[in-house]
């Protein structure tokens, strides 16, 4: 028997009503928006992507649950945030990424990217990108081994690298690639081709995603549609992806105008690599982005700028991941200098001038 009976009327302080949209609602909608991209990735790469997603999902959710248990917090899986992390991580890994390495990425992402900071809301960096950055440094070859999309037998067999035994290096797949791909697949991403050979992939291929790349980063058009769904439901601040894309285009444009052969055109910048996925689903992560409109625009533009600078002048072909992580890192600083101006103070300033 409870000591206190239920009160007849409750006494609270205002407001007495609230909008019925919780953190879980928002996160669940992000999950829903990512599902079409996952489905498309499965269609492109088959069973390997299913296995990859399953392993990443299991490790991410398991790690989240484990750390919550160890620190005595209630089961956090209901807020769907670790599901988002798992989906994003799976979509940003190469489709044939060895499963044991994917498990490492999932564990590191949640453990070091989120749990150590205190769980949802307290993480500084996007956990999925922490996981990916870790495996990028740890397994530089595997993370740049690409499989051709729509290869023959993708629904009956796996990409040979998928089932690499733990702590072993994956087999070379050049021969396998030659055997299964129809049109002389080079194993290079459009970004690498552009950077080193100045060959630009056709825009159509980039939009529908039939180019080499991570499992879910290639279909630029589909990602855009899914992102717009979230923006229209007010579950994503549209200013962030727009600022990222704007920043990238404005940074690239002068270079392209100077030397159109050497440097990519702005449309290529937008549709290639992980820019779309990063702009709409990772940079826009609420926890790691600033609070005010001004802050968000600075943050987005910074990510777009850094992405293009890394792509054009860095050693790597792709810069979205590090750009977003750097953006996350500068969020507290941006927040500090873009505090909203209190109502009535702006007017005063204008008057005194």
């Amino acid at each position: 028997m409870p000591i206190f009976k239920k009160p007849q009327i409750e006494v609270r302080t205002s407001p007495h009503i609230a909008r019925h949209q919780s953190v879980a609602d928002i996160m669940l909608n992000v999950v829903l928006a990512l599902l079409p991209i996952l489905a498309y990735a499965v269609w492109l790469f088959g069973l390997s992507v299913i296995a990859l997603t399953a392993v990443v999902m299991a490790t991410c959710l398991g790690t989240e649950r484990l750390f919550a248990y160890l620190s005595g917090r209630p089961n956090p899986l209901g807020d769907w945030s670790s599901t988002i992390t798992a989906l994003l991580l799976a979509l940003t890994l190469p489709p044939g990424f060895p499963l044991w390495m994917a498990a490492v990425a999932g564990f590191v992402g949640i453990a070091m990217g989120k749990a150590l900071f205190g769980g949802i809301g307290y993480n500084v960096f996007n956990p999925a990108l922490i996981g990916r950055a870790f495996v990028q440094a740890a397994f530089p070859v595997s993370i740049t081994t690409w499989a051709p999309g729509l290869f023959e037998g993708r629904f009956t067999s796996f990409i040979p690298t998928t089932f690499t035994p733990p702590f072993l290096s994956p087999p070379a797949i050049a021969d396998w690639v030659k055997a299964v791909s129809l049109d002389g697949f080079s194993g290079a991403t459009p970004l690498a081709l552009q950077k080193f050979q100045h060959v630009q992939a056709p825009l159509n291929d980039l939009l529908i995603g039939s180019t080499a790349g991570s499992a879910g980063e290639t279909p630029a058009l589909l990602i855009l549609v899914c992102g717009l769904y979230l923006a229209f439901r007010h579950m994503l601040d549209w200013r962030i992806p727009v600022a990222v894309m704007g920043g990238a285009v404005l940074t690239d444009l002068p270079f392209y105008l100077l030397d159109p052969v050497r440097y990519p055109d702005p449309l290529f910048v937008l549709t290639s690599g992980g820019l779309m996925l990063g702009a709409w689903f990772m940079a826009s992560d609420m926890v790691g982005s600033p609070l005010t409109t001004r802050g968000v625009i600075i943050y987005g533009a910074l990510i777009g700028f850094l992405t293009v600078i890394i792509r054009l002048f860095g050693g790597l072909t792709e810069g979205v991941m590090y750009a977003i992580l750097l953006g996350n890192a500068s969020t507290p600083l941006i927040d500090r200098y873009t505090q909203p101006k209190v109502f009535g103070t702006v007017r005063k300033k204008e008057e005194s001038q």
């Binding site: 909008r19 307290y122 005010t292 209190v342």
Partner: protein, 449 residues
């Protein structure tokens, strides 16, 4: 979006769009309420000094007779809403919590609705100071909820060099569920315009703008039709958005002026008064009567006859709910609107001058609030909602750590007027405005010590 401006109604920035819930009562005409057996007149129902009682236990009073006088400039008299006998002056429960002194009046059975006491004045020849005194003697306070004495509001703070150019008449009624101002504008249009004319005289403002939310276009048209051509009065529709009825927000919407932090509207040359207040003033002043009743919206789950009622001040809400027929389980009874109103802790709490509605919420309506509090995910919805452009997100995190002074020194805590937009939108269920109230109280305590 600048090119759209001519097509959009000017408004303040940020704010929220709660479900208005006004359909149940908006079309119901104001009905007169019967007298309860006993009236409870709190002496401190206005902002400022409590009224000073001038009646004794056992004394007979008639409807409209003063039972307490203003004890100071910032104070108002109280009038007996019914004919009856003074039962005593006792401590009675208030909506705020603590019991305070109130005059209890036992109403005679069959007490007349006719007002038996009045002091008529030749209003058209009164100088401004006497007009202000006449306003004070009606016992008038802001009926929108603040209960600030009306005559004080219309008097300029001494020693200030402001010049009042505009009287803003607040007909926004942005709180969900409430429809009293709406009905008053429709049914007491003449009184309202008369009241606006008195207020123009009292404030010496050059013009008056009546701002009404655009979900009440019938009121906009009714009020516009009642204005004489030589009146310096205009009506302006403003977008329905909470908290449009907050003084500073409405001034910004109508005039594009922002009142500086911690300053009064007078600092930008504006006085704001509620339509309910001015309509009542326009009714009482020519008759020389005092404020003894007010219009209240009674609505919510389980109310059999929701509507707008003209209720004697001092009617206990227990009697009120019995009369309108209340059935079912109430989970919460709110005095005022759901965004800024107070929970009633006792059914013996009486109707006061500043109470604009009684709203009953059941279990289902407040279910959401009982859920867990999640960590802040920095979604910035509170920042996008705050009409004062504060940072509720950061303040909320500081409040959780009890860093109340930092909230003030770094994030302008005192500029929060507790509209509740931040708590309303928070997907993590963080009681932000509730935190801020505690923080303000703690800072006040510390300042005193």
């Amino acid at each position: 979006m600048g090119f759209l401006k001519p097509f959009l109604r000017a408004s303040f920035r940020h704010g929220i769009h709660p479900d208005p819930h006004k359909g149940d009562t908006a079309s119901r005409p104001i009905q007169r309420f019967p007298f309860p057996d006993r009236l409870v007149l709190h002496l401190d129902q206005n902002i400022g000094k409590p009224s000073l009682p001038i009646v004794k236990k056992g004394q007979e009073v008639v409807r409209g007779e003063p039972v307490a006088v203003a004890d100071d400039f910032v104070s108002v008299p109280l009038h007996s809403p019914a004919t009856g006998i003074v039962r005593g002056i006792e401590l009675m429960p208030t909506a705020r919590g603590p019991k305070t002194r109130a005059i209890l009046i036992d109403v005679y059975h069959g007490s007349t609705q006719e007002v038996l006491y009045s002091v008529k004045r030749p209003l058209h020849i009164l100088p401004r100071t006497d007009l202000l005194r006449a306003i004070q003697e009606t016992g008038m306070v802001g009926l929108g909820g603040a209960a600030f004495p009306t005559h004080v509001k219309m008097t300029l703070p001494p020693g200030q060099e402001y010049e009042i150019h505009t009287l803003v008449v607040n007909g926004a009624e942005c709180e969900p569920f409430l429809t009293t101002d709406h009905r008053v504008m429709l049914e007491q249009t003449e009184d309202l315009i008369r009241g606006v004319r008195y207020a123009l005289e009292a404030t010496e403002a050059k013009q008056a703008i009546i701002g009404i939310e655009d979900n009440k276009m019938d009121a906009v048209h009714a009020v516009a039709a009642a204005i004489e051509p030589d009146d310096p009065i205009t009506v302006q529709a403003v977008p329905a958005k909470y908290p449009q009825g907050a003084e500073k927000m409405l001034i910004r919407s109508l005039l594009g002026l922002e009142v500086p932090p911690r300053a009064l509207p007078a600092s930008v040359g504006v006085v704001v008064s509620n339509v309910g207040t001015l309509a009542q003033l326009g009714y009482l002043l020519p008759r020389g009567e005092g404020l003894i009743e007010r219009v209240i919206t009674v609505t919510g789950a389980g109310i059999k006859r929701p509507g707008n009622y003209r209720v004697p001040i001092g009617t206990p809400i227990r009697f009120l709910l019995e009369e309108v027929g209340f059935e079912g389980e109430a989970a919460e009874i709110i005095l005022g609107g759901p965004m800024m109103g107070m929970s009633a802790s006792s059914l013996d709490t009486p109707v006061t001058k500043g109470m604009s509605g009684i709203l009953v919420l059941n279990e289902k309506a407040i279910e959401q609030e009982a859920e867990n509090i999640y960590p802040c995910i920095k979604c910035a919805r509170c920042v996008q909602a705050c009409p004062m452009y504060l940072n509720p997100s950061e303040m909320g995190q500081l409040a959780a750590k009890r860093e109340y002074e930092q909230m003030e020194s770094r994030f302008h805590l005192t500029d929060c007027f507790e509209c509740g937009c931040c708590s309303y939108v928070c997907p993590s269920n963080i009681p932000l405005v509730q935190y801020f109230r505690i923080a303000k109280a703690m800072n006040r305590e510390k300042a005193k010590a």
